[in-house]
Symmetry: C2
């Protein structure tokens, strides 16, 4: 029996998604809970990793396990048993050929900026831009040049495990929207390279404050390798917001309809949890 689950987490206190010797990663917490429920080791397969400090509104993972009771009861059992900063909020039976990583056809990330210094209740989820003010017309015009299939190697850092994968990705959406002093970058792509969203976010901020021109951004894309002109935005602003699968669609709230930084547009709003 294969199960597809959706989990939200505040990444602040974890060493990323992927299992580590410290055992303080989101995957480790999930696997500990599943081992308890199924009385054996259960391997969790995520749609991909998130770095230390990165959050998720809707990370997807699958696992195999024989569950004799109703699916709702599995979800109830999966809602509890972790730190409060992890919450599994969807669990559905899927066919055995579903794979959280290999079946994914795209992903959406959001990145939150705050023009000013984020306060005690939102600093965990924003890059505080201090006195910088972004010119979003410039930013969004520059971002349009990156849409489409490109080699995004200039916007990645080396994966730590040296995994080989194509550096050509299909970028379908890249825009920054404003809600007062809260700015949200939304991006959708077929896939992402290591630190790609944070590198794009860093570059677009530099475009927004005038340190990079639109031509500079195109040159960076075309030069083929990462240079020091590409800066990486801090992890804390980044959320894995949605993983797309063929035929597995769930309601998809518009991430630009935010009223308050990170949490407000998360799947928590109005969900029957």
């Amino acid at each position: 029996m294969r199960w597809k689950c959706t989990v939200a987490y505040d990444g602040t206190d974890f060493e990323g998604w992927q299992s580590q010797p410290s055992k303080n990663t989101v995957q480790d917490h999930l696997e500990r809970r599943l081992a308890f429920l199924f009385k054996r080791d259960v391997r969790v397969h995520g749609s991909g990793r998130t770095d230390s400090g990165v959050h998720a509104n809707a990370q997807v993972f699958h696992f195999d396990g024989e569950w004799k009771w109703a699916p709702e009861d599995l979800l109830k059992a999966l809602r509890v048993g972790y730190p409060d900063s992890i919450q599994v909020y969807r669990a559905e039976r899927v066919s055995d050929d579903f794979h959280a990583r290999f079946s994914a056809v795209g992903k959406r990330y959001v990145y939150h900026f705050y023009e000013g210094f984020a306060g005690p209740f939102d600093y965990r989820w924003h890059w505080s831009l201090g006195h910088w003010r972004l010119d979003l017309d410039r930013v969004n015009e520059a971002a349009q040049q990156l849409i489409g299939k490109h080699d995004f190697a200039p916007f990645s850092a080396n994966p730590r495990d040296g995994r080989e994968e194509s550096t050509v990705k299909d970028l379908r959406r890249l825009e920054v929207v404003r809600n007062g002093r809260h700015l949200t970058l939304v991006t959708e792509a077929s896939g992402y390279l290591f630190r790609m969203v944070r590198s794009l976010a860093g570059c677009l901020v530099n475009v927004g404050i005038g340190r990079l021109s639109q031509d500079d951004l195109r040159e960076i894309l075309e030069c083929g390798v990462r240079t020091e002109r590409v800066v990486t935005a801090p992890a804390r602003g980044l959320f894995l917001d949605r993983v797309y699968y063929e035929g597995h669609d769930t309601p998809d709230p518009d991430p630009t309809k935010i009223v308050f930084g990170g949490p407000a547009h998360s799947p928590w709003q109005g969900e029957g949890r």
Copy 2:
């Protein structure tokens, strides 16, 4: 030179407001920073204490210190130098007869409930009510009976230091408003007893789910002493939202205009920080 300051904090990681031997209270953090800035011990006088785990959108404190530069520079210096979960966002020169505690003529608290289980991004600021659903007509009708000058001893716990003060308080506002599954209790009074807001919140939840009737609530008020019928709501939902002073008025956003639990209506919204 006397300074009146306003500070917001996420109380989750602190042992309350008032200085403790552990030195991990909000007052301790403020005094450490002031000692650094003024090169001597500086005593911080708060408008009152908040318990361990209780938050503040706008706690007020005063201190005395000779500052040779512009007041804006004092604020700049006071904005930094603490954990991110503390932020001082207002500092103004006041006359020497101003006292953060004794000059206060009233206070407003808000308390946040969530019908369901608050997620990773809001659990710090809500009492998660699980499957309980509150009948707010019942709650608000019952709450009206408590408005006015009463002896609120039944709704307090013993202050830890045995401080003697009148248990008669003038309760000016007590209501719960709904925004989807987020519920916010708003209360204004001349002053509060130890754990009074959390005791009122606990009782009103019991009224809302039918465990207490409106008559029960009046009986509790009239019996004069605390009994086991009064339960204390958890600290995490409680925010000190505003301290009122004669002639020291600053813009006062309506705490019922919330869009997302605790943080959304905080003074951070739209402030020039």
